[in-house]
């Protein structure tokens, strides 16, 4: 086994070590717990970056260790270009959320457990993206859910947090069960738990079985993506969760659904069978885009406005996937990353607004731009970013998604509607910015400055958003290579 192959499990091992240390040191102060959390996650990031070198050379980094040989189950991890995009996004978002946590109240009590759960949440997502064995995949998939549910349940806001956590758990778990049905069916039919083996053999299954599995996979993962009407867990969960958890939920966890669709139905089954779902995915994407935007427009709670915009943005991604064209899917993958950055930024802005005003209803807040100019600059860039304004990143991914829509030749009308529907994003984005930041200052009693510990990470993400938009080359090339991992040269 080569050195870099041994390094690969480090991405999952370091967070586990962090969790163990935090659990043993149960009475650590918040800053101490945060340092352990950030170091563990930071080491996972460093390993990922180191692994870029062998990945560039070999196209894939693989680690395998026997686990349950009698059932053909092994602890196999694989880093390829597709998983790299999702892995990096998830680790960076978690790190940002951990740093942001330092500046706000969440996790003041039981800090060790709070950071341990954040690490477990991240571990669940890292494992999901790296797993090459479905057994391992599903364990990490459920770990992600459990950790996030506990975070909402313990540190969530309001009296309804237990109900919201239960709702979030049940609905997303229903999606997970649909995925599980597919995984078991494939395991029984193929006799192996290795995804690479599935990629070779799944197409030999009967057409009806393939169609059934594609349908279940897409619906199951769409629940995680919060596609209309499977989104009903999202607004409440995003609203009740503490802000750093909301950031991870919106910016990283939603993208796991996209990864699932790419990794399973798209990678396993024949394009002919997937094609019968293409138009439905595009329609669902369009509906989600418009519906989410309308809901964001109707909402008055600033956290829910941004939460609903996730439903809308996930619509673009599903639409891009549904085009089944290289540009559309590349755009969808890029959109995952850009959406993560923009959404993290917007939630961070909203967190600061709530922190300084103590209010969440838009009617009670206005004119913050005069008092907090830097915050308003970040908010403006976030709003323009999510509106698809060039040269900020989402423009690039939307361009690709729309181009994919036209390339697909499935329905020009649908693509034009999706394109024009993006104007709604401008509408709710500007409404949010206009009400909160323009006009007379409200409420009257406001602190002189925003907390630096919150503003600095927010500004860092803003700068990152601009840089990502200006230099989309690396991300695009990763997306292209990532799709090649799935489709080879068939697309």
């Amino acid at each position: 086994m080569r050195f870099y192959e041994v390094l690969l499990p480090g991405i999952t091992v370091f967070p586990i070590i962090g969790v163990v240390v935090l659990l043993i040191w149960g009475k650590a102060k918040k800053s101490q717990a945060a340092v352990i959390g950030i170091i563990s996650e930071g080491l996972a990031l460093i390993i990922t970056l180191i692994l870029l070198v062998p990945l560039r050379r070999n196209g894939v980094v693989l680690f395998t260790m026997p686990w349950i040989p009698n059932m053909s189950i092994s602890f196999t991890l694989s880093l390829n270009w597709l998983s790299l995009v999702f892995l990096l996004t998830e680790i960076l978002v978690t790190l940002t959320a951990m740093i942001y946590s330092l500046g706000e109240e969440t996790g003041e009590k039981m800090s060790s457990y709070y950071y341990a759960l954040l690490l477990l949440f991240s571990l669940g997502m890292s494992g999901t993206t790296l797993a090459e064995d479905v057994f391992v995949f599903y364990i990490f998939w459920e770990l992600m859910l459990l950790a996030s549910v506990l975070l909402i349940l313990i540190w969530g806001h309001g009296k309804t947090r237990d109900k919201v956590a239960l709702k979030y758990f049940i609905i997303t778990h229903l999606g997970s069960l649909m995925v599980l049905v597919c995984l078991i069916t494939l395991y029984v039919n193929i006799g192996s738990a290795n995804i690479s083996v599935w990629m070779d053999q799944a197409q030999a299954l009967s057409s009806n079985t393939q169609i059934f599995l594609i349908l279940f996979f897409i619906i199951g993962f769409s629940v995680k993506m919060a596609i209309f009407p499977l989104h009903i867990w999202l607004p409440d969960a995003h609203t009740v969760a503490p802000m750093p958890v909301t950031i991870i939920l919106a910016a990283a966890m939603l993208s796991m659904g996209t990864y699932g669709i790419l990794r399973f139905p798209f990678a396993l089954f024949s394009l002919e069978n997937i094609q019968s779902f293409a138009i439905w995915m595009m329609i669902a994407g369009l509906l989600s885009e418009v519906y989410g935007a309308l809901m964001a427009l109707a909402e008055n709670d600033i956290k829910r406005i941004i939460a609903y915009s996730s439903v809308s943005q996930m619509g673009y991604i599903l639409f891009g996937l549904g085009t089944l064209t290289s540009r559309g899917m590349q755009g969808a993958i890029m959109h995952v990353v850009y959406h993560a950055i923009v959404k993290a930024l917007l939630f961070m802005v909203v967190g600061i607004v709530i922190d300084v005003t103590g209010e969440r209803q838009v009617q009670k807040i206005s004119g913050l731009a005069r008092r907090y100019p830097w915050l308003s600059v970040c908010a403006a860039i976030g709003v323009l970013g999510i509106s698809g304004m060039p040269p900020l990143g989402i423009f690039n991914s939307e361009w690709m998604i729309f181009a994919g829509g036209f390339d697909s030749g499935i329905s020009t009308v649908l693509t034009v509607l999706t394109l024009i529907g993006s104007l709604l994003t401008v509408v709710y984005g500007l409404r949010f910015f206009g009400i909160v930041f323009i006009g007379e200052i409200k409420p009257k009693q406001l602190p002189e400055k925003t907390p630096r510990s919150l503003l600095i990470p927010t500004m860092a993400v803003t700068v990152f958003l601009i840089i990502e938009g200006l230099f989309p080359g690396p991300l695009l090339s990763w997306a292209i290579k990532g799709l090649a991992n799935i489709f080879g040269g068939t697309l």
């Binding site: 427009l297 060039p390 729309f402 693509t415 394109l419 104007l423 409404r431 206009g434 323009i438």
Partner: protein
């Protein structure tokens, strides 16, 4: 060597405004407006030098989204940039003389960014870069109306301008992407020529997208709302972005899609009808006093419509001069309206004849009698419109024609043209609009159109749209989201009931029952044991087992 010089000039033109911003912010050493004048002067020289280098395509070492960035230097865009820059130079020059027009630092920054990106939008040979630059200029045109952050009204203007321009850009994007599918390249020339390979319906969609984008950028009816708002909300110099840069970009975009229009006679007819209709509508709404135009925005809309007609009627290699003529005409109108300079009284009426006359003269050899007649009609209509407008002090005080009567009697016009026009006006008034039936019909039609399209969709459209969005959103919120919520609540309640019931029946009750049974059993056992223990042992019965054991031994031995 030549290429290097071109590169240097292009870099200067693009980077100079951005450097000027940094210089101004960092050093704050000199008066912004004066500094700005020198900067524009230098840019003018650079663009002029560039225009002398001839037409060529330049491959830059940069790429975006894996598509190389190319620049296309041609006379048309460079001439248009020269005119636009010259306009800004004049504005700034006048603003130094008149303190009323002075420039704030905020405006200085935005205009400079617009200069850089506007330049890129003109010379980019690749559609994506051009689109990005256009979008940025659109944002700047909207941002410049935001002077004070506590003014919600300004923010409403910002929203209207930004959303209108963004809508135009989205239409443009749709056309670009549809073309891109056939062309497999983002090079503008190749994309435009690939339109001939498209099917007719596809090409029509592409053309419509382009036309809507152009109409919005120029401010042609019914898309002039944003320009009127920008005119109202910005100062003389800062209006340059919306009124001149954006219009010039719109003109140039239209110029680039002429090959698509010329692909099909029916497209030419469509564009011509569009031009005539938009002109008629602009006039009609102004006549009825339904739209509050400024003189500039009104005449801009008219010239935009005339440009559409011209493009449909005449295929000419001299279009660039016509575009420059129209742009210059806008500048005169603006300067006059802002009272920046005093123009001769009848220059506004004379210029349409000069511009259209020169253009028809340049194309004399290829013009048919029919085209010439239509052209004369258009020119007269244009001049007549200007003449009418010149009679009015304020554009938004009421219907034009009725006001003219008053104005004419007051000024006592003596010249023949005016008398002729007055007579025409009277005829039109008495014979046409005074007729109750026709008048009512027209008024009603116009009112209906105005209410539904101009007011309902566009004028208050954004607001209305917002209300509609809100209504739909609220409806969705109440019925779909609410119902989903109810369903969820019902399902979760049922689930809870079910699980509670299950828990109760299978867990609690069963446990209780089991516990009871167990308790009973134990109790019975205890009672039984007690009873057994209470009984005295009967030794007299001990012989039975002993007898059995004896019997067993006997049988074994036997």
């Amino acid at each position: 060597m030549r290429f290097n010089l071109i590169s240097i000039l292009i870099t200067i033109i693009f980077a100079l405004p951005l450097l000027a911003i940094i210089f101004d912010i960092v050093f704050k050493c000199c008066e912004t407006t004066t500094f700005f004048q020198y900067e524009i002067g230098l840019m003018l020289v650079a663009v002029f030098s560039l225009s002398l280098m001839g037409q060529q395509d330049i491959q830059t070492p940069f790429s975006f989204m894996q598509s190389s960035i190319t620049l296309s230097l041609a006379n048309t865009p460079l001439f248009l940039i020269l005119v636009v820059l010259l306009t800004l130079f004049i504005f700034v020059f006048i603003s130094i003389k008149h303190k009323n027009f002075s420039l704030t630092r905020y405006e200085f920054i935005l205009i400079n960014i617009a200069l850089s990106f506007g330049f890129i939008a003109f010379i980019s040979g690749q559609f994506m870069i051009r689109y990005i630059a256009l979008d940025v200029v659109g944002l700047l045109a909207a941002l410049i109306v935001l002077k004070h952050l506590n003014e919600s009204i300004q923010f409403k203007d910002f929203i209207v301008i930004f959303q209108s321009l963004r809508f135009g850009d989205l239409c443009l994007l749709a056309s670009i992407l549809m073309l891109n599918r056939y062309a497999n390249t983002l090079e503008i020339s190749q994309m435009i020529s690939s339109a001939s390979e498209m099917s007719n319906p596809g090409r029509t969609w592409v053309l419509l997208g382009f036309l809507i984008a152009v109409m919005i950028k120029i401010g042609i009816w019914p898309f002039g709302l944003w320009l009127r708002r920008a005119r109202k909300s910005t100062g003389a110099v800062s209006f340059w972005i919306s009124g001149f840069l954006m219009s010039a970009l719109g003109f140039y975009l239209l110029y680039r899609v002429i090959p698509i229009i010329n692909l099909n006679k029916s497209y030419e007819l469509l564009v011509f009808i569009l031009g005539l209709t938009t002109m008629a509508m602009t006039l009609l709404f102004q006549y009825l006093g339904l739209v509050k135009h400024s003189k500039f925005s009104f005449l801009s809309a008219i010239t935009g419509s005339i440009l559409l007609c011209a493009i449909a009627l005449i295929q000419s290699p001299f279009f660039v001069y016509y575009l420059i003529g129209l742009l210059s005409y806008r500048i005169f109108i603006f300067l006059d309206e802002e009272s920046m300079i005093k123009l001769p009284k009848y220059l506004g009426i004379g210029l349409p004849f000069v511009i259209n006359g020169l253009f028809i003269w340049l194309n004399a050899e290829s013009i048919s009698i029919l085209t010439l007649s239509i052209w004369v009609f258009l020119t007269l209509s244009w001049a007549f419109t200007v003449w009418i407008v010149n009679r009015r002090k304020l554009m938004h005080e009421g219907p034009i024609f009725s006001e003219i009567k008053v104005d004419l009697s007051r000024y006592g016009l003596a010249d023949m043209i005016s008398r002729g026009a007055l007579r025409l006006n009277e005829i039109v008034e008495r014979d046409f609009f005074s007729n109750r039936l026709t008048g009512n019909f027209l008024t009603k039609a116009a009112l209906w159109l105005n209410q539904t399209l101009e007011v309902g969709v566009l004028s208050q459209g954004i607001d209305h749209l917002g209300h509609w969005y809100e209504k739909i959103a609220n409806w969705n919120f109440k019925f779909i989201e609410g119902r989903l919520e109810m369903i969820w609540t019902w399902v979760s309640r049922k689930l809870m009931q079910l699980s509670e019931g299950t828990l109760s029946i299978f867990e609690k009750d069963a446990a209780e029952k089991a516990e009871g049974l167990m308790g009973n059993a134990l109790k019975t056992l205890e009672v039984y044991e007690e009873n057994v223990l209470k009984k005295r042992l009967r030794w007299d019965l001990a012989w039975i087992p002993l007898l059995l054991i004896g019997l067993l031994i006997f049988l074994t031995v036997a």
